[in-house]
């Protein structure tokens, strides 16, 4: 067995998984609170990447310092993704809060279709090269063939985002309100939680993590187009379901498992069937654990 190759695949899977995790977190948080598959979540990620690209190009054109460009582009991407997430919830989901769940899902699909075509028409249908915002560090050069400095940056960002998110949900007032709303929306409202605000905050936080993911991945892959959100969204959703949708550690675990599965299968078997393996694996896990790896199996009442 070739250990270096194995290590490479392991770390590649880890990077891939942590990218999925950044997007899957938004899915799982929204699902935990309003039980809606936010189909437009992938589009928010795509809009984040596009905003970063536009801002970075404008600033580069103005001849700004490289580090400042990277930071400003990231900040702009986060701000705009949050704004889009907030607006989408107000337009497409809030009026449907008491409607059947399928209606909200269709509304989400409509929103996703709209946003894809909006970016397609306003920008371009072609792939755009994305500037590399994270530089290659010189001192890391000897190890770069196993894990590049970009991948390290992705891992570091993901870990810190997760720690921040956990702290927010465990220890702040709004985090407590979120947990209360997820458990029982009506009861939370009765004890004085502002439900609308909690839901908005959830969307904003989920969008922010998606934007961070969007910028990191776009910079890692090197090109974007209007369609990237859809594929990434599906993968992240698979990851969230794999871990048990609604559970935050579950989303992270599911993403890592999915990342490793894909990485090892493509590395050792065949790259043609990468997505087939991912989905087959999902089906297998759900057959044996119907509510995901970390999902609680709820007692159904009549």
């Amino acid at each position: 067995m070739d250990w270096e190759y194995f290590l490479e695949l392991l770390l590649g899977g880890l990077t891939r998984g942590s990218i999925y995790a950044l997007i899957a977190l938004g899915y799982t948080m929204v699902y935990g609170i309003i039980e809606l598959i936010n189909f437009a979540h992938g589009e928010i990620y795509m809009i984040g990447a596009f905003t970063a690209l536009i801002v970075a190009s404008v600033l580069n054109y103005a001849g700004m310092n490289h580090v400042a460009v990277a930071i400003l582009a990231m900040v702009a991407a986060i701000i705009y993704s949050c704004a889009y997430g907030f607006a989408i919830e107000k337009i497409a989901y809030k009026p449907l809060r008491n409607a059947p769940r399928l209606s909200a899902l269709i509304s989400a699909i409509g929103m996703s279709l709209f946003l894809q075509n909006y970016v397609l028409l306003a920008q371009t249908p072609d792939f755009l090269p994305f500037p590399s915002l994270i530089p290659d560090f010189d001192f890391w050069e000897p190890y770069a063939h196993i894990i590049s400095s970009q991948e390290i940056a992705i891992l570091a960002t993901t870990v810190s985002v997760m720690i921040l998110l956990t702290v927010m949900i465990k220890f702040t007032i709004i985090g407590k309100a979120m947990r209360a709303t997820a458990q029982d929306r009506i009861m939370a409202a009765l004890v004085g939680v502002d439900i609308n605000r909690v839901i908005s905050v959830t969307f904003v936080v989920g969008s922010a993590t998606a934007a961070i993911g969007g910028v990191l991945i776009a910079s890692h892959v090197g090109q974007i187009n209007f369609y990237i959100g859809f594929i990434a969204g599906i993968k992240a959703f698979v990851a969230a379901v794999l871990g048990g949708i609604g559970s935050i550690p579950g989303a992270v675990l599911g993403s890592l498992v999915l990342g490793w599965t894909e990485s090892f299968f493509t590395g050792y078997i065949s790259s043609d069937y990468e997505d087939v393996f991912a989905f087959l694996f999902l089906v297998l896990i759900l057959i044996f654990r119907p509510s995901g790896i970390l999902g609680r199996s709820e007692t159904q009442k009549v």
Binding site: I47, L53, V58, A83, A92, T124, Y273, V276, P290
Partner: protein
């Protein structure tokens, strides 16, 4: 008087705020266009003006429609169980029979009155009617959210393509074979997902649809890979040679016949023992089991019978286009079929038919604004769900009325 004035001022202020918010929101993507290859930046300030004006008017309209909807809900809540005026007119025999005759006349004369292009569009629309009615069994009646319905459509299309390619089987022989194969695929999918509920079911069916497509794309020896299968024969009639025009007309009538058959079967199913079992399963799985309904059998028949129509639709699709490749069976196709069911009105046959016609004909006739049609489609889905979530035609449940003697 001043109250109304204040109200108008308040509304104007709200619209103004929303329009400002949207101008901010759309600023980077609509105003700036960068070309990273040639390093040029284009500023399009006129877009911002357009967004400002249109959201100002749009938000006022949006809030007006929402208030109308709330009012009508309050009225409906006061007197539940009322049929809409459309459904009332429909159940009136004096109106129903003339309308039916006009409809039949129109359906029969359609391919002769309009061009071949129109007839082709109509065939596509009818295929979607069939797919919608099939998915309606799974989603509308049995309440199982299926996002991979297109897999069965692909099974149908590929069974015709491959059986014809290898064994030279004709359209009419393959139609029942494809239906059976699709039903088997339905059971194959249904069996492992029996225990799953709601969203887990949705994602597994989605995965199933993608697996089928990816296998078709990658297993070149079996399915001819991404290049697909070409030269699939059109439907035949007793071996008579037909010109392209005649054949299109023939396909149109084949499709009309199949749709009528579908409507007949689905209507009979809906009111049968198994149909009621599906509805019971949709309403409450546990209560349904407690009433002695075999959950496994009920779910599997829903998947199998739903898939059957997709299989037959796939055969007609392959025969109509004479060429199939995996690109025709993406997840968006499943999403569109699901939208047909929900937009038309879940569980209602008439609703699903109108949903299919609207969703397939509208994009065709919106080709004038071809660039914007998917955008409009998205807006339409969202606003339809917000303002009329029960669909175009609401399903009326059979109810017993008790009269005091």
């Amino acid at each position: 008087m001043s109250g109304i004035f204040m109200n108008v001022r308040g509304e104007l202020k709200k619209s103004f705020q929303i329009s400002a918010w949207f101008m901010f929101l759309t600023f980077p993507i609509l105003v700036i266009r960068v070309n990273t290859v040639e390093n040029v930046i284009e500023w399009r300030w006129y877009n911002m003006a357009i967004v400002g004006v249109s959201t100002f008017l749009g938000s006022a309209l949006w809030r007006y429609l929402l208030s109308v909807k709330e009012k009508s809900q309050r009225i409906n809540a006061a007197s539940p169980g009322n049929m809409t005026s459309f459904q009332k007119a429909f159940s009136d025999k004096r109106f129903f029979y003339p309308a039916l005759f006009i409809l039949i006349g129109f359906v029969i004369s359609f391919p002769f009155l309009f061009s071949m292009y129109q007839a082709n569009i109509m065939i596509t629309a009818l295929i979607y009617v069939m797919l919608g009615l099939g998915l309606n069994i799974v989603v509308g009646l049995a309440g199982l959210l299926d996002l991979g319905y297109v897999a069965f459509y692909a099974v149908g299309a590929y069974s015709y393509g491959l059986l014809n390619f290898h064994f030279g089987l004709g359209f009419w022989t393959t139609l029942p074979i494809a239906a059976i194969l699709a039903a088997l695929a339905g059971i194959l999918l249904g069996y492992p997902v029996l225990r799953l509920r709601g969203d887990y079911l949705a994602i597994v069916t989605l995965g199933f649809g993608e697996i089928i497509r990816l296998v078709l794309e990658n297993w070149g020896e079996f399915s001819h890979g991404p290049s697909g299968i070409a030269n699939i024969p059109r439907p035949s009639l007793l071996g008579i040679d037909m010109t392209l025009t005649q054949n299109t007309i023939f396909t149109y009538f084949v499709m009309i016949g199949l749709v009528l058959f579908t409507i007949f079967v689905v209507n009979r199913l809906q009111n049968s023992r198994i149909g009621r079992a599906w509805i019971a399963l949709r309403e409450d799985e546990i209560a349904c089991q407690a009433m002695g309904i075999d959950r496994t059998r009920t779910k599997l028949t829903a998947f199998a019978l739903g898939a059957t129509w997709a299989g037959m639709g796939g055969v007609v699709f392959a025969a109509k286009t004479t060429f199939i490749n995996p690109a025709s069976f993406t997840i968006w196709e499943s999403v569109i079929i699901l939208c047909i069911v929900v937009l038309g009105g879940m569980g209602s046959i008439l609703g699903v038919i109108s949903g299919a016609l609207v969703l397939t004909l509208l994009p065709e006739y919106l080709r004038a604004f071809s660039e914007y049609r998917m955008l409009i489609f998205g807006i339409m889905l969202v606003s339809m769900m917000v303002f009329r979530p029960e669909g175009i035609i609401r399903n009326v449940r059979r109810t017993y009325t008790f009269s005091k003697e």
